[in-house]
Amino acid sequence: MTDSKYFTTTKKGEIFELKAELNSDKKEKKKEAVKKVIASMTVGKDVSALFPDVVNCMQTDNLELKKLVYLYLMNYAKSQPDMAIMAVNTFVKDCEDPNPLIRALAVRTMGCIRVDKITEYLCEPLRKCLKDEDPYVRKTAAVCVAKLHDINAQLVEDQGFLDTLKDLISDSNPMVVANAVAALSEIAESHPNSNLLDLNPQTINKLLTALNECTEWGQIFILDCLANYTPRDDRESQSICERVTPRLSHANSAVVLSAVKVLMKFMEMLPKDLDYYGTLLKKLAPPLVTLLSAEPELQYVALRNINLIVQRRPEILKHEMKVFFVKYNDPIYVKLEKLDIMIRLASQANIAQVLAELKEYATEVDVDFVRKAVRAIGRCAIKVEQSAERCVSTLLDLIQTKVNYVVQEAIVVIKDIFRKYPNKYESVIATLCENLDSLDEPEARAAMIWIVGEYAERIDNADELLESFLEGFHDESTQVQLQLLTAIVKLFLKKPTETQELVQQVLSLATQDSDNPDLRDRGYIYWRLLSTDPVAAKEVVLAEKPLISEETDLIEPTLLEELICHIGTLASVYHKPPSAFVEGSRGVQHKRLPGSAGSGESVESPDTGSAAGVPDAPPAVIPSQGDLLGDLLNLDLTPPATSGPPPPATSGLQLGAMDLLGGGLDSLMGDESEPPPIPLRTDTPQSPQIPHHSPSPTDYSPTELGGDLGGGSAMGAGFGAPPAATAAPFSAPVSGGLDDLFDLGGGVGMPMGAYSPPKTVWLPAMKGKGLEISGTFARRGGVIQMEMTLTNKAMSVMTDFAIQFNRNSFGLAPAGPLQVLTPLSPNQSIEVSLPLSTVGPVMKMDPLNNLQVAVKNNIDVFYFSCQYPISMLFVEDGKMERQVFLATWKDIPNDNEAQFQIKDCHLSSDAASSKLQGSNIFTIAKRTVDGQDMLYQSVKLSNGIWVLAELRVQTGNPIFTVCLKCRAPEVSQCVFQSYEAVLKN
């Protein structure tokens, strides 16, 4: 007898017929009918109308029929909650059945019925089943607690099931232990702060014992749970490692990977000079290699994980290059992953083999794979200097194949090779130029143009080549346009006589005929540079470029650490933290590797990003006290006032010039004689009391700026961010061109500056005996301005104005007297701007940004309070070094993290970034994951508090997510409000 016939009933009136059959007296017929119902359910037909009839079949001693009815119940109970109650009795009865299989079946099914009324009835049977004499029932009941918790967490806590579950960890049966661990882990995940899974050496010992005895799946649950434990010291860590290593020989790959996860994590705590540490490293390699002989899907999971492991501990697999060679019949996803790992493992020792392989791959069929192989050859050249020559000749061979995408890919990587080894391989340029016409991808075109521009003096017909690109200038992508602009300017600087016309043409195309602000900005800067000072232009544009780094595509150290804690899981497959793809509270906790036990090993320790080799800058800017009040009161409040306003020129210049001029600005700034120090002029005429302060040349020390810029361009952040200079235009007395330039930049770009809310009425005339004060706050040129409109609505003249502030959270105080010089006649208004300093007395206010003001005139003293946007306090030097940012972000406890959402914000991430930059919220880095842009930003308040932020922007989604981290979490709310205000303005 076969069951497939049940799938083939499609006639009308089927439900009717089924109803009749379900109510039949014959058992066989009933069973047939239920099978038909289940078959329909599988296909997706709605058979919920049969609910009462099916439930009627439940009370049977035929176990097969019972299981079918249960299956139906699980599917439809939610849609028919009232009728589902009918089933309760049978469940309760079944939970008492002498047959343990039936008891377990009942409790298992009941947990799957997500109807509140039923869950109430479930409690008693569940309590009994948790203490059942039969282990099969207990292990099922353990999982049932997790099910119940998912439906009604409070109920589980109230009923004390969690304690019973904890007791099951000491159960004599290993499978019960495993399921209890799984259930507890899951429940603990949704209660990040509860100490539910109270892991201590005793429980760990129990788990390790059960590990040896339970099923393969149970071993996975236990190992995954162990990975959350942090041993107290290196000795405990070692002893756990010793007991986990045998799992590496398990036939189940998931057991192996979970064991690897535990070992990778606990290894962090072992001193590196320990013999055992070396032994452990050696033990890890063979099982990882063995994973590659598993089925392709598992190979893929393994390779994604190996990619992480290799980044964290390259020493483990450094001798295993050969196993990552691609096989002709590997699925494409395995091939691509293997290639990635091959590049990571490439070294001088194995480069010859690797290159031979890569060359082989470049002739395969799959386009993506071939491209990646070609790119890999280029990366080898950059990584292993000795091989560069061979790589270049391999690439040239590949270009000769004339296969379009191979050629384009090769040209892109050759550009990088030129960057890495300048003046070494230029002989190949002629070959590259032959392929100019076949390039149709923007990246390849841009690379080729870059090469032509960079080596214009060696290419006889460089001008013709570039001119040929210029014809379709407006159809090119931005990448190509920018590159073309720069290349032609380079060409002009090298061969000024023949190319004047060309450069004119491109500058006008870029500035007058383009709507792309990045392009226009760059065009204008070049234009001004060329017209005012060609020598400086030469130094800027043709400056030596910083070397490019060897490793690419490295995962950020903090993310890598987190992913290592998630080995074997989806996160490690996606290379994304769980929060990026898991909804709700689950998995949002960020896991961290434990600190190293060996003290003096900063190079290896996770805290220093080993990737960039940047010296570890101590995050000293951040005070260690967590208490805001303490911070507010104790922090040094001096810097802004004593040294004058921080030069806004820094940020302005930095922005405009960053990517565009590359390291070139170094030389510009280094050469102080050419453009003289730019004096700062605040455009607030009513503030004579702020001394006009020309920053001395030391303020613009080339090292400082250079460092800043280098960092900026290396991380590629804030590409082409528009200058935030409108608030502080420069007047350069000697070369007035620059002034114009920045004016222009502002004019054509976007009017940017610190966001300032519209004026609101602070003191209504009613309360002020005729004096009405409305006002707002603004930050101009690094100075906080309180801008007020005083209106006299009384009948008499007002004179003798004065102002005073109460103590407030950030020490705001008037930096000078209120300048109302002429008496205020009736019905007259006057605009006053009062500069503020932040060195006044401090007292925590509620809300934090509340300011109590007293204004006096000849009539009376008036009091009012107003709230200033906290963004006024964001200082201009709030851009954190990237390394410092990473370290700080990590350093601030997760409890201090606050998350907010900004709705209805229709900005692109770049626009948002530049907008925020105007208010001194600086974007430090940007990452794009699955169409979601993550901007990492830093803000420094005038009292030295740093706020770090992660802004998530999804294209097309008007909801932004801001995640703020700060030592003083109290300010987060205010900072968020500023975010919202700035973005929505």
Partner: protein, 436 residues
């Protein structure tokens, strides 16, 4: 954990759908069909994320198995589970096909209810499952209480893979050492990579709860013994021992004991199962060597000559030899001459397939072919896929030897000597390729 499990036929119609978690809805069934099964492009990853839902899939013939989740699950576990699910189904009703799945859908639902609880995999050993889930409806009504508790203790117990009270008149066991030897060779005859992946498959028909101990010529064990024992033996045995890169074991093997003493001891499941898998890369005997010679004569002709040499004892015979020589896509005609066996050009497979039934060791054979090509203006070069080979030899290319398999059963009155033991070695080609 796993939120749901779906089985589809090649058209994307659902055959089985079981949802374990509330966050997975019916729309997930359709999402997978639309985005993966009906996707125009080749599958680029076995894990797909569609609208924050992750789909893991494996394919068996033209049946799709998909596990769905919204959480950060253990990905390796999910795939292992899907493979296990396939094994279990195969053990119950044979080949996984649409026909068989439809015929057994009630059974499959029952299995899914048992081996996956709230998305957590539970005991999935067929041996244990078959004691209480059968195709002839469920046993249970007629079971005694003892039988019931025996089932539950086996399902949850430490030795979940074997039930008590097994009796055989004749205690017998069969060991198969099955190796697949993998090779990638350059046209110049340089070994680019070579490894053997081997399996020890055991068929045990033993009474009671026998304690077994398995020994092989593992270098580490032999060296250890050599140190302790007579020194004259060490040199001799050292030559015979092999270096095993890594091995994994069936869950019946006590891993901690292997880790500490490197001894393989276990209580075997009843019937056939895979005791261990291993991998070696050193001193592999490559049974065949392929020497290709491809010459392009003008634009429309290729001359191919391939020599194969067998490299093992002349007394042994290799079987089922097949050499596959790829031909370009624009091949119009092929003429083949071979010394031994039969060769044929298969246009549909774009290859010349040369078959030889048997070949003794230390022999050599040759094929030459003339391939005529249609002139094309296709710029793309022919990728020249490697020449691949299939064969079967009656020895283990890794050099592995079984030294002993001792059986102890203290409760029943049979001893190691009473057990009849059989050992067989088969070496097969895995991916055995020579680039040309």
């Amino acid at each position: 954990m796993i939120g749901g499990l779906f089985i589809y036929n090649h058209k994307g119609e659902v055959l089985i759908s079981r949802v374990y978690r509330d966050d997975i809805g019916r729309n997930a069934v359709d999402a997978f069909r639309v985005n993966v099964i009906h996707a125009r492009q080749q599958v680029r990853s076995p894990v797909t994320n569609i609208a924050r839902t992750s789909f893991f899939h494996v394919k068996r013939s033209n049946i799709w198995l998909a596990a769905v989740t919204k959480q950060n699950v253990n990905a390796a576990m999910v795939f292992e589970f899907l493979y296990k699910m396939c094994d279990v189904m195969t053990a119950y009703f044979g080949k996984i096909s649409e026909e068989n799945i439809k015929n057994n859908f009630v059974l499959i639902y029952e299995l899914l209810d048992e081996i996956l609880d709230f998305g957590y995999p539970q005991n999935s050993e067929t041996g244990a499952l078959k004691t209480f889930i059968t195709q002839q409806g469920i046993k249970g009504q007629c079971q005694t209480k003892e039988e019931q508790s025996q089932i539950t203790s086996q399902v949850t117990g430490q030795i979940g893979w074997r039930r008590e009270g097994i009796k055989y008149r004749r205690n017998e066991l069969f060991l198969d050492v099955l190796e697949s030897v993998n090779l990638l060779m350059s046209p110049q005859g340089q070994v680019l990579s070579a490894h053997v992946s081997g399996r020890v498959v055991m068929k045990s028909y033993l009474s009671g709860m026998p304690e077994c101990k398995f020994g092989m010529n593992d270098k580490i064990v032999i060296d250890k013994q050599g140190k302790g024992g007579a020194s004259d033996d060490a040199g001799k045995s050292g030559k015979q021992s092999i270096a095993i890169d890594d091995c994994t074991f069936h869950q019946c093997v006590r891993l901690s004991k292997f880790d500490s003493e490197r001894s393989i001891s276990f209580i075997p499941p009843d019937g056939e199962y895979e005791l261990m898998r291993y991998r070696t890369t050193k001193d592999i005997i490559l049974p065949f060597r392929v020497i290709p010679l491809v010459r392009e004569v003008g634009r429309t002709k290729l001359e191919v000559k391939v020599v194969i040499k067998s490299n093992f004892k002349p007394s042994l015979l290799a079987q089922k030899i097949e050499v596959r020589i790829p031909t370009p896509l624009n091949t119009s005609g092929v003429q083949v001459i071979c010394m031994k066996g039969k060769a044929k050009y298969k246009a549909s497979e774009n290859a010349i397939v040369w078959k030889i039934k048997r070949m003794a060791g230390m022999k050599e054979s040759q094929i030459s072919a003339e391939i005529e090509l249609l002139p094309t203006n296709d710029k793309k070069k022919w990728a020249r896929p490697p020449i691949s080979m299939n064969f079967e030899v009656p020895f283990a290319p890794s050099g592995l030897k079984v030294r002993y398999l001792k059986v102890f059963e203290s409760k029943l009155n049979y001893s190691d000597h009473d057990v009849i033991k059989w050992v067989r070695y088969i070496g097969r080609s895995g991916i055995y390729e020579t680039r040309c």
